[in-house]
Symmetry: C2
Subunit: 428 residues, 2 copies
């Protein structure tokens, strides 16, 4: 960290000693995994800086705005519509959930057989090491999977400001009605929190900012079609992760800047890995900061990740919100339409996801798919079996992995990934 | 089996050899667990007979009615309204899900970390040993937990007649609207299947039959308040299990008959276990035939089970459906009202369940609670932790167990149950 933020952290109620330990682990991991990469685009410097200041400058910036009256809303999921948050001049931030922390404490509140993502969110909260959760004026939970749905009941006793949003399970008329009602309720809650009435001009502005952010990552994704790949999967994941934390306009500019640079690289035929490297599509569960385990294993095994079918990837960002309507109610309908398309495995059935995976394989010229399943994440683990059957029937190789946030299985995973990468090389 | 049903089973497509093996295991387990009990009421003879003919006479009876035009609807859950099924002269049967079978086959379709109940349903289907699933004209799945919701997508490829019912996750206005819409859709589907239009007289009759069945088990439950307990928990569970299979009118008569007998026993101060035996309330996941493991361990440890807060117990049966309305739509509203009260852990929040547990402890004068959680059943395992905190705050002892359908952990469970029973004895 370039400044001393200890007073700020102390005022936020962080456990300074534990937080120091976390930052050290995080910093070391970033050095080992990110800074050892070769031939990174210069534009990644911005994201390196963001990561180095993720608990520092970004929090200071949020706290300064908070002092000026802005509200901070924390979220665990891509179903929370940022358009509505921005329309009320509030900030939406993703809450920490990518590493094991304070697991002994977590075990008092959650069953052993709970996925790492949920346990991590509790660990950062119980361990008092997440400045985002501490600075948030409202924390939004959503009834997506059983694990989160039931965990929020417990979290509600641990934080003073949890708001729970219901989410449908089927893409039926009643399912859409439920999502619409919940987004209207959320809009009211955000209005109440901020004291700002969301009119159509504000909502249009919110949609524009979020759409621009999405368009920038779409532009970046398309550049990854190139061979050799102009950007590592690790760096692409980082950008997708920063999507959830950063000021949206600055983020959009920074992504567009790196795209300009990558276009030049592609013209010159430059890449981050040799042209012959096996191209992998990652599909499955989200990867929150600092969960870089799988792309790190893949890319240190000589392959390159060319796309993420994930909430921290295209599942979260691929569709734009139609901003052509003029009334608040019509714009809200557009927002509902946009999010109702998200092909999360909590939906049954969920054929769009399979179509999207196949489409991504074609678009990014992937040689194979690695399915990333978090242990005890029932929706994705169950869906991975039918996805695998369908994908292999189309003669696309797929490796199904199940893991957690620990580093104990790294060598075991590496052995399987290396074998898969070798298989892909034989097939070319 | 008192008759030779082999032709019937063969015609249903059962794997006769595997089915023989299953019946032998089932018969032996029943002998060891049920027939070794002391001082059982004579009225249990009926239920012994039902169990001995569960794949025989009951199936023959259903097949005979089927030949005469009746339809058979199979279900995995207490959210499927039997009132509607009976109103169309169809029969509702619970589908086999209480034992491990054909697990090697199941592993090809479901992740390892899937609960035993779901795996068992698949195993009985894949192993071709369940005459109920084979004879059903319609199999009803329901979007309750993530595990079932996603498993039905796979089951849909394995059976020709799966119907999936959506279920809400919150007891909100939109949640109730969704349940209403789904029950109307189900009514239409049942009408289409049977060719019978459900009018108010039919629906009233259906409600009456199911209510009478519930009233009979309520009467039985109340008798279990007596000390010494007039009926074992094993026998009560069996009656609750047969609730899902038997002809409803005959079942009601048989339960009332055993109640008459128990009333006399209670007058004479007779019980199945000594008066001082620790009284246990079981709370948690359902126990389908032949899953008698936990009550067997408890009762062979000298305690007696006095109530089941479970789908195979009061959670499934406790509320009646109001039959006072006169139109089909009003009666459907009453049905929705009744089922919307079911306090399954899939709902968030689910405070009614905790209230019901506390109420049952008082009503049945339980000394303690054993929470039965199926491994990987996220809703009940997660809820069990907050239930335990709340229950222990009221100074009611609670033991939280997590298990599956295997018998490998019986001695380990027995050790914990015995220690808990001993603790309860010290407290008295």
């Amino acid at each position: 960290m370039s400044e001393d933020y200890r007073d700020m952290w102390k005022n936020l109620g962080l456990d300074l000693e534990a937080h120091d330990a976390l930052l050290e682990v995080l910093g070391n991991a970033y050095q080992d995994i990110y800074m050892t990469q070769q031939d990174r685009p210069e534009g990644m410097g911005y994201f390196d800086f963001v990561m180095s200041e993720v608990h520092g400058l970004r929090i200071k910036e949020l706290m300064d705005k908070k002092e000026a009256g802005q509200k901070i809303i924390g979220s665990f999921c891509v179903f929370v519509p940022e358009e509505i948050v921005l329309a009320a001049d509030a900030a939406l931030v993703g809450l920490c959930a990518g590493a094991d922390f304070a697991m002994e404490e977590v075990d008092k509140f959650l069953p052993r057989n709970t996925c790492s993502l949920i346990k991590s969110a509790f660990g950062f909260n119980l361990g008092k090491v997440c400045p985002y959760i501490e600075s948030a004026d409202m924390i939004v939970g959503e009834n997506t999977c059983d694990g989160k749905k039931k965990a929020y009941e417990t979290l509600n006793n641990l934080v003073p400001n949890l708001y729970v949003m219901d989410i449908p399970q089927m893409k039926s008329i009643e399912g859409r009605d439920l999502l619409k009602a919940e987004y209207m309720r959320f809009k009211n809650a955000v209005e109440e929190l901020t004291g700002i009435t969301i009119d159509s001009a504000r909502l249009k502005k919110g949609i524009e900012i979020v759409n621009n952010k999405r368009k920038a990552v779409h532009r970046l994704s398309i550049l990854r079609k190139a061979n050799p790949a102009p950007l590592s999967g690790l760096d692409a994941l980082l950008i997708n992760q920063v999507f959830f934390y950063d000021d949206p306009i600055r983020f959009t500019d920074s992504v567009n800047k790196i795209c300009d640079e990558l276009e030049k690289r592609i013209e010159k035929g430059e890449g981050v890995l040799p042209k012959g490297a096996a191209r992998i599509l990652i599909s499955g569960c989200p990867m929150a900061v600092p969960n870089w385990k799988l792309p790190w294993i893949i890319e240190s095994s000589g392959a390159v990740v060319v796309g993420e079918e994930s909430c921290t990837g295209e599942r979260g960002t691929r569709n734009l919100t139609d901003d052509s309507a003029s009334t608040v109610d019509e714009l809200m309908e557009s927002i509902v339409d946009r999010y109702f398309k998200v092909d999360c495995a909590i939906f049954t059935p969920n054929p769009d996801r399979l179509n999207h995976i196949e489409e991504m394989v074609k678009t990014y010229k992937a040689d194979g798919i690695i399915h990333y399943g978090l242990q005890f994440c029932q929706p994705y683990l169950m869906e991975s079996m039918s996805v695998e059957k369908a994908i292999e029937a189309k003669n696309i190789p797929m490796l199904r992995l199940e893991t957690d946030y620990s580093m104990e299985d790294v060598e075991q995973l590496r052995t399987r990934v290396e074998a898969f990468v070798e298989l892909l090389s034989f097939r070319r």
